[in-house]
């Protein structure tokens, strides 16, 4: 469960506003540092203000994720059966859910130290994994890996894994079960119900 937190935390800590051509690991580092600085100087976020944290995620983190690919991977083969409208709804609801949960995770950042491993990459590569390590007292350091793709000249994250647990893979079983039981529209409904319930809290 500690893993789950770091997982979400890491996602939230991915920073934004960057030149499109910068190296993927530099992008991750600069966004992470920027977001950490903002959290450190914002007492409201530290105290758990979900709105401010969500705004931070929207502004700094969201632009660096390819949510369409993320949703497609989380859906797996069922993605092929979804209509364009269903796909749009799925991406929209999944994004809302992730923003919400990551915002919550952000508010619990507690000065963990993050190291980055050297990036192995050829200049022509369009898919890389940026590897980082989060250190914390009394526990083994946890790997946080960002799967990134180069598209239209910029790097974007399409999956991340924390301690070996992939976000996309972890959602896939739930999504598939939902689709099997209630169809794609059933999954959309479940997601939007969940989002509504979280928003009313």
């Amino acid at each position: 469960m500690r893993i789950a937190l770091l997982f979400l935390l890491a996602f939230g800590l991915l920073p934004a506003t960057h030149a499109q051509t910068s190296a993927p690991d530099e992008l991750v580092k600069s966004v992470t540092n920027e977001v950490i600085e903002i959290i450190k100087n914002d007492k409201d976020i530290q105290a758990g203000d979900p709105r401010k944290a969500a705004a931070l995620v929207q502004e700094k983190v969201l632009p660096h994720f390819n949510f369409t690919r993320m949703t497609a991977l989380a859906m797996g083969p069922s993605w092929r059966k979804a209509t364009p409208d269903q796909r749009a709804a799925l991406v929209d609801q999944f994004r809302t859910l992730l923003v919400r949960t990551y915002s919550t995770a952000l508010t619990s950042y507690r000065n963990q130290v993050i190291d980055y491993k050297p990036l192995r990459m050829q200049p022509e590569d369009t898919e890389v994994t940026v590897r980082s390590l989060v250190r914390q007292p009394g526990a083994q350091a946890v790997n946080i890996d960002y799967s990134m793709e180069k598209r239209d000249g910029g790097w974007k994250v399409y999956d991340m894994s924390v301690g070996g647990v992939s976000l996309v893979t972890t959602y896939r079983d739930t999504f598939n079960t939902e689709v099997r039981n209630a169809g794609i529209d059933g999954l959309i409904k479940t997601l939007s119900d969940k989002n509504r319930q979280l928003a009313s809290n």
């Binding site: 469960m1 949960t101 009394g138 992939s166 079983d173 739930t174």
Partner: protein, 285 residues
């Protein structure tokens, strides 16, 4: 008080055996890794109830009362007690160098770190590792077996559940500190275990809040994360990716939309699982 832990352990062991026996005849659920899902869900529900009623409130109180540095000291203290067993598991897995490091960590932290309260070994560059007997069995090639939710102890599987029995037998506080007389030893051991449980839960408070929000189905979310995590640990963080890298989203959307309502159930593609030798079966390919 004296026999509480033994009873708990016996209870866990008995449940484990019962669940394994059950798994032989239970009907197959949706997930081939989790053949006794209905039983597991019931235990998960039970654990959740106990957590909400007892463990979580106590952990919240613990965190509210003790300042951060004190809590870190407590965390370090219990982490240090586990290092000798971690060292032994490293060696059993053939990682002699890591085993030696972990043993040196224990010696360093127990002495210079004042009985482990300060993790001076990490500051000195000796990295903390996390090994247990379930991982050792995994390295030796044992399959995980079916997923299990153990009463109180939580997510596990047949292999890791067996590993836990060895882990707890080898864990220092079970044996007592040695210098106390027999009656005191039990009291000390019980207190230590209670504090250990509370501090562990306190460390997870933020995570469980996030989980509460992230998961559509907490049971499945915890299960899938647990199985991936254990697989990763057996490979020491270098497990081959389970992610399906097929580029689903590159393709054109389905040409003939099934216009209204849900698609017929049971029509979703069921991908036969490929079994990964050391970990959970791969999900898809």
């Amino acid at each position: 008080m004296k026999n509480n832990f033994l009873q708990l352990r016996f209870c866990a062991a008995a449940s484990l055996i019962a669940l394994v026996a059950l798994s032989g005849c239970a009907t197959t659920g949706a997930d081939p890794r989790d053949p006794i899902e209905p039983v597991n869900r019931a235990v998960f529900q039970f654990n959740d109830t106990v957590d909400k009623a007892v463990l979580k409130p106590v952990a919240q109180g613990y965190r509210a009362i003790l300042p951060g540095p004190v809590r870190t000291g407590v965390t370090n203290f219990f982490a240090n007690l586990r290092d000798p067993w971690i060292a032994l598991n490293q060696i059993l897995q053939g990682k002699i160098e890591e085993g030696a490091t972990d043993f040196m960590r224990f010696v360093t932290n127990t002495t210079f770190g004042l009985a482990g309260i300060f993790d001076v070994a990490s500051e000195g560059g000796m990295e903390k590792h996390d090994e247990d007997f379930g991982q050792t069995l995994g390295v030796w090639g044992l399959d995980t077996g079916p997923y299990l939710v153990l009463p109180i102890l939580g997510p596990s599987n047949v292999r890791d559940g067996a590993g836990r029995v060895a882990d707890s037998a080898a864990y220092v506080p079970w044996e007592g500190p040695g210098w106390a007389d027999a009656g005191d030893e039990v009291a000390i051991r019980n207190s230590l275990t209670a504090v250990d449980t509370i501090q562990t839960r306190a460390g997870l408070l933020d995570a469980s809040n996030v989980l509460e929000e992230a998961a559509l189905d907490r049971y499945a979310f915890v299960r899938d994360a647990y199985l991936q995590r254990r697989r990763s640990q057996v490979y020491d963080g270098n497990a081959p990716s389970l992610r399906d890298d097929e580029d689903y989203y590159q393709e054109a959307p389905a040409a003939a939309p099934e216009a209204h309502g849900a698609e017929p159930s049971g029509k979703a593609p069921v991908v036969p699982p490929e079994t990964d030798q050391r970990g959970a079966p791969a999900r898809t390919r």
